[in-house]
Structures are given as structure tokens and as C-alpha cells.
């Protein structure tokens, strides 16, 4: 079956040692999902922008370089803000915060979700029951509110908000890994491994984990969009990245909204940047899921 071939191809691709397969998988993906490919390029663009932000931005992101509220011009591509900082430079620099939310928070959430989900599913019985009730409790709080509470406890700021976003990702992630582990656990080869006396850690690492790996790619790619939106929302509400450090969320609050009518460019840069980035992640996530696991098609959330 064509689809199962693709899944195993991608599984192989996840191991960086097999270069040939990676290239093949890349070409297959580009042919089948041209829109997904475009989105992948947009995301790569955003990542490069974030990494090389200091080289790309024409002015320092916190430097006052012109008169306040200057309209867009060749010198200041999207104008200046209420204290005369270059909006384009701030938008470019804001990509760093988003990238960190997308990478660090998702890594925390997915890694912890995978460890909790896999061990809960594999252990079963009482352990599973208790862990799942704990997950239920976490799920019973709206994620943005939970993130707000966590940030308040740990203190506002970038690192703490990344940690809070990572934590709120755990329950949903771990559910997905748990259900996948439950079915893999029933497989003959797991039983065989047990029969020849393989230790539990060995079974988890050598037999269960590789099967869950493609799922990690899908789950993580879908979580990136969520993480970016939650980070921006926290910053927008004043609980995330604190000014003067620019983030797409905090640029849209405060002065951005106060001068909305007279200086709409203040919100245009970050607004468009975050919309396009999240859109690209969502569409790439859809495309990846169609290729990796057709059974999940159309079942977002």
C-alpha cells in the first residue's frame, strides 16, 4: 500500500543517518503537497529571519531612531512607533520570541507528553488510572487561563511563559501518545521481546518509541501553532515578554491599539507576521498529517 510505504519512509527519514531516503521523502512530499511545500519554505524563512534578526533588522529593536509615529517610508519600511522605534526592526526581532515559543515550549510539552503518555499507557492499571485523572484535572482548565495562572506564579517574562506553554501542552500530547502506546503494546513483537526477557526500558526505547516517532512529528508540528498563539496572547495580555523587548503579541497591545486609527502600521507588521507564520504551520501540519497518517485526515483537535 502506497500510504504505509510513505509512513515507513518518513520513519526512516527521521533518522538523520539515511540521507538518500531523506531526499526521496522530500521529493515525494513536494510532489504530493505543493502547498505544504510552500508553507515549509515560509517557515524556513521565518526561522532564518529569527536566527539572523540582528543582521536583517536595519535598526536596533529598542533604539529610538526617528520621530515618533512616522508613516512608512523607504527609510522606515513600516514606519516608527509611539517613541520613534523602527517597527520593521521590531517585527523582525519579534520572530525570535515566536521561534523560541515554537521550539522550546513545544520541545518541553512534547517530550514530557511523550514520556508521560508512553509510560502511562505501557504501565496500565493503577498507575495509568492515576496519571490519567491528573491529566483530566489539567484538561479541565482552559489552556490560556492555566497558562496565565502558571505565569503569575512563576513570574512574567520569556523563560517562564515558555515553561508555562510547555506545561499546558502536556495533557493533550500525553493523551495522544498514551492511546498510540496502548495499541502498540498489543503487538506480537512487544510480546516476543518480553518473552525473551527484554527489560522494560529496553522495550520502551527499542520497540515502542520508534513506532511512536512519526506521531511525535505530527503532534509537535500541530503544537507549534498553538504555542505561538498562546505566547502571543500572553504577551498581548501583558503576562509574557515584557516591553521594551518586542514580541508580536505585545506589539499589538498598548500603544499599538492606542494609535490604531492614526498609525495603523504599528499593528500591521506584527499582525501580518504572526498570521502568516501560524497559517504556514497549520497548513504544513495538515500536509504532513495527510502524508504520514491518512487516518487522521480532517481530525484536528
Amino acid at each position: 500500500m502506497a500510504t504505509s510505504n510513505t509512513a515507513s519512509e518518513v520513519l526512516a527519514n527521521a533518522r538523520p543517518t539515511k540521507k538518500l531516503d531523506l531526499w526521496k521523502g522530500f521529493k515525494t512530499f513536494a510532489r504530493r503537497q505543493p502547498i505544504g511545500m510552500i508553507c515549509a519554505f515560509i517557515i524556513i524563512g521565518v526561522i532564518i529571519t529569527a536566527i539572523f534578526a540582528p543582521l536583517i533588522q536595519p535598526y536596533g529593536e529598542t533604539d529610538v531612531v526617528a520621530r515618533r509615529l512616522e508613516a512608512p517610508s523607504a527609510k522606515h519600511l513600516i514606519g516608527t512607533d509611539d517613541i520613534g522605534r523602527d517597527v520593521f526592526s521590531r517585527t523582525v526581532n519579534g520572530a525570535r520570541v515566536s521561534l523560541m515559543a515554537g521550539v522550546i515550549a513545544v520541545a518541553i510539552g512534547t517530550a514530557s507528553g511523550a514520556v508521560i503518555g508512553i509510560s502511562s499507557g505501557y504501565a496500565g492499571g493503577r498507575t495509568d488510572l492515576y496519571i490519567q485523572r491528573f491529566v483530566d484535572a489539567m484538561l479541565s482548565m482552559p489552556s490560556l487561563i492555566l497558562a496565565m495562572v502558571l505565569v503569575t506564579i512563576m513570574g512574567t517574562g520569556l523563560i517562564n511563559s515558555l515553561l508555562a506553554i510547555g506545561i499546558i501542552l502536556i495533557p493533550t500530547q500525553s493523551r495522544i501518545f498514551r492511546s498510540s502506546t496502548l495499541s502498540i503494546k498489543q503487538e506480537m513483537y512487544v510480546e516476543a521481546a518480553k518473552a525473551i526477557g527484554a527489560s522494560t526500558p529496553r522495550i520502551l526505547v527499542r520497540h515502542i518509541f520508534p513506532q511512536v516517532l512519526p506521531l511525535i512529528i505530527i503532534v509537535a508540528s500541530a503544537a507549534v501553532a498553538v504555542a505561538i498563539i498562546v505566547e502571543a496572547s500572553l504577551s498581548f495580555l501583558g503576562l509574557g515578554v515584557q516591553p521594551p523587548t518586542p514580541s508580536w503579541g505585545n506589539m499589538l497591545s498598548g500603544p499599538g491599539r492606542a494609535y490604531l486609527e492614526t498609525a495603523p502600521w504599528l499593528v500591521m507588521g506584527p499582525g501580518i507576521a504572526i498570521s502568516i507564520t501560524v497559517l504556514a504551520y497549520n497548513m504544513l501540519g495538515d500536509a504532513l498529517r495527510d502524508v504520514l497518517d491518512p487516518r487522521l485526515r480532517g481530525s484536528r483537535r
Partner: protein
């Protein structure tokens, strides 16, 4: 069935209790915060002043004693504590803000279901046509553009070209019904649109699957009108997952009004929680946690029970 509901209710109570207790201890990890927020205008602070404020806020006892007193108040007198900031009972603040959020969410929910199901159906009936692509693009757009960005754009466009401004001050439903409904208009459409994406996607994929079933072919072969096939036969079955999700979505909307309420300055539950969080108003945060966890667990219970009722094949 009764045993199942009872079992779930016990579990729900346990979950809410767990959440409330966890939040209770979490907000107390940094006990100085509430005190310092209270004293932020005072210049020099003496240890006696701190102790006095702690005493006034009921924070001088051992945390376990505080927890015990808090639960005792709730269970015996329905007293969720006194707000650190307003010095009024927390429940009053919650009760005042609930109608705003409920009205907003009901409008948004209706819009979300109507929009999602209509667009999803059109999309599924004409798969892989320009109409379908456009609908899917709009849906992924709704999923991707954060609410605060969309709200900002809407406010900008409306204020620039129509001269509409977000209303300042809140009109109660009974005082001025038309002004009241009008101020919900834009925020409700915004929230409804954002959450309709999920409904649209699920309607589309479920309907696409149902249309390929044998009984639809049979209905066609019988010569039934296409509209009757779609509405009476296909949608009836395809919408089961949509309605399952609708319950969860309602709970999610109720807990997700913070951003929209902040932008449109509506005195709802979201604003109330945000203020509580910003002021380190522990009783408010704790009560909000109980409220939200209760709403979520009860909605989930209703969803599961009605699913069983709608489809007797569902097993637990």
C-alpha cells in the same frame, strides 16, 4: 446508565476538588506577592506592616489551615472568600460577570455552529472545486489568525470606514436591550468565526464519508430529491461528531473569552479573572479555577451521556 452517571459525577467532584486544591497551593508558593501588590504604592515597608496585611488577608495562618478554612466556608456557608482588592465577597464578582460571558458565548456558539455546518456542507458537496478550496482556506485562516489580531483588524476597518468604535461602558440587557445586543455583535461574530473552523472541518470530513455509504446510494436510486437526501439522510448522521464537539466547544468558549473581553472592554468572567490574576487576588483565582473546572467537567459529562443516548452502540 445511572451507575455510570453517578460514577462520573463522583469523578467530576474529585477533579474539581483536585484542581481547586492545586491552584490554592500554587498561588501560595510566592506568599509575598499578594502583600506586595497591596503595598506597591507605599514607599517604605516595615515587617509589622507586612504582618498586619497578611493578617487582614487571612494569609498569616499555616497554608493547610487556610485551605481548611476556605473549604469550610464554601461547604458550610457557600462563602468562597473575600476579594483582596475589592473587599467584597468573591462570589458577587463572579455572579456579576457571568451574564456578560454567557450572552457573548451563546451568540458566538450559535454563529460558530451555523457557519461551520453550512460552509462544511457546501464544501463537502462540491469537493475539490474552487468553492471547496475557498471554504477550506477561510477555515484554516480562522484557525490561524489569533483572535486579538482579527479583532484589531476589525476595529481598525470599522472605525476607519464606518466610524464605528468599540463601545465604552457596558449596557445591561434589561436597561437598554438594543444597545446591549449591538455591543455583542462584533465580538460574537469574531469568536464565532474563529471557532467555526473546527466545526467546518469536521462537518466536511464526516459528510464526505457518509455520502459514500450504501444507504445514500439507495436513497439516490429511490429517486429522492437531492436536498432531502442531504438533509434527512446524510447530515443527520454526519452531524453526530459535530454535536459531540459542540458541547466541548461551548465549555472552551466559556473559558476562552479573556482576549475578546479585554479588547472590547466587556465586564465578563475573562476580564474578572485577568484582573484577579494581575492583582494576585488569590480568592478570585481560586474561585475562577473552581468555576471553570466545574463548567468543563459538567459539559464533558453531558457530552458523553448525550452521545450514549443518541447512539446506543456507544459503550463505556
Amino acid at each position: 446508565m445511572q451507575a455510570y452517571i453517578l460514577n462520573r459525577l463522583v469523578l467530576a467532584v474529585a477533579t474539581v476538588f483536585f484542581v481547586a486544591t492545586a491552584i490554592f497551593f500554587m498561588v501560595r508558593i510566592i506568599p509575598g506577592d499578594a502583600v506586595f501588590t497591596q503595598l506597591q504604592d507605599a514607599g517604605h515597608i516595615t515587617p509589622e506592616q507586612i504582618l498586619e496585611i497578611k493578617k487582614r488577608l487571612g494569609l498569616d495562618d499555616n497554608a493547610l489551615v487556610q485551605l481548611f478554612n476556605w473549604y469550610k466556608g464554601i461547604l458550610l456557608h457557600g462563602d468562597f472568600g473575600i476579594s483582596f482588592v475589592t473587599r467584597a465577597p468573591v462570589v458577587t464578582g463572579l455572579i456579576d460577570s457571568i451574564p456578560v460571558t454567557v450572552e457573548l458565548v451563546i451568540f458566538a456558539w450559535t454563529i460558530s455552529l451555523f457557519l461551520g455546518i453550512t460552509v462544511g456542507t457546501i464544501s463537502a458537496l462540491k469537493p475539490n472545486t474552487p468553492v471547496d478550496y475557498f471554504a477550506r482556506l477561510i477555515s484554516i485562516f480562522g484557525l490561524s489568525v489569533p483572535e486579538f489580531v482579527l479583532a484589531t483588524v476589525i476595529i481598525l476597518v470599522l472605525s476607519k470606514y464606518i466610524g464605528w468604535l468599540p463601545p465604552i461602558g457596558y449596557h445591561a440587557l434589561l436597561d437598554d436591550p438594543w444597545a446591549n445586543i449591538r455591543q455583542y455583535f462584533i465580538p460574537a461574530i469574531l469568536m464565532g468565526f474563529s471557532s467555526s473552523s473546527t466545526n467546518m472541518r469536521i462537518t466536511r470530513s464526516a459528510l464526505l464519508e457518509v455520502i459514500r455509504q450504501d444507504y445514500i446510494r439507495t436513497a439516490r436510486a429511490k429517486g429522492l430529491a437531492e436536498s432531502s437526501i442531504i438533509i434527512r439522510h446524510a447530515l443527520k448522521n454526519a452531524l453526530a461528531p459535530v454535536f459531540t464537539l459542540a458541547g466541548t466547544q461551548l465549555a472552551r468558549l466559556l473559558g476562552g473569552t479573556v482576549i475578546v473581553e479585554t479588547i472590547f472592554t466587556m465586564p465578563g468572567v475573562g476580564t474578572w479573572i485577568l484582573q484577579g490574576i494581575n492583582a494576585r487576588d488569590y480568592p478570585v483565582v481560586q474561585t475562577a479555577a473552581i468555576f471553570l473546572a466545574t463548567v468543563m467537567t459538567i459539559m464533558n459529562l453531558i457530552v458523553d451521556v448525550s452521545l450514549k443516548w443518541l447512539d446506543p452502540r456507544v459503550k463505556y
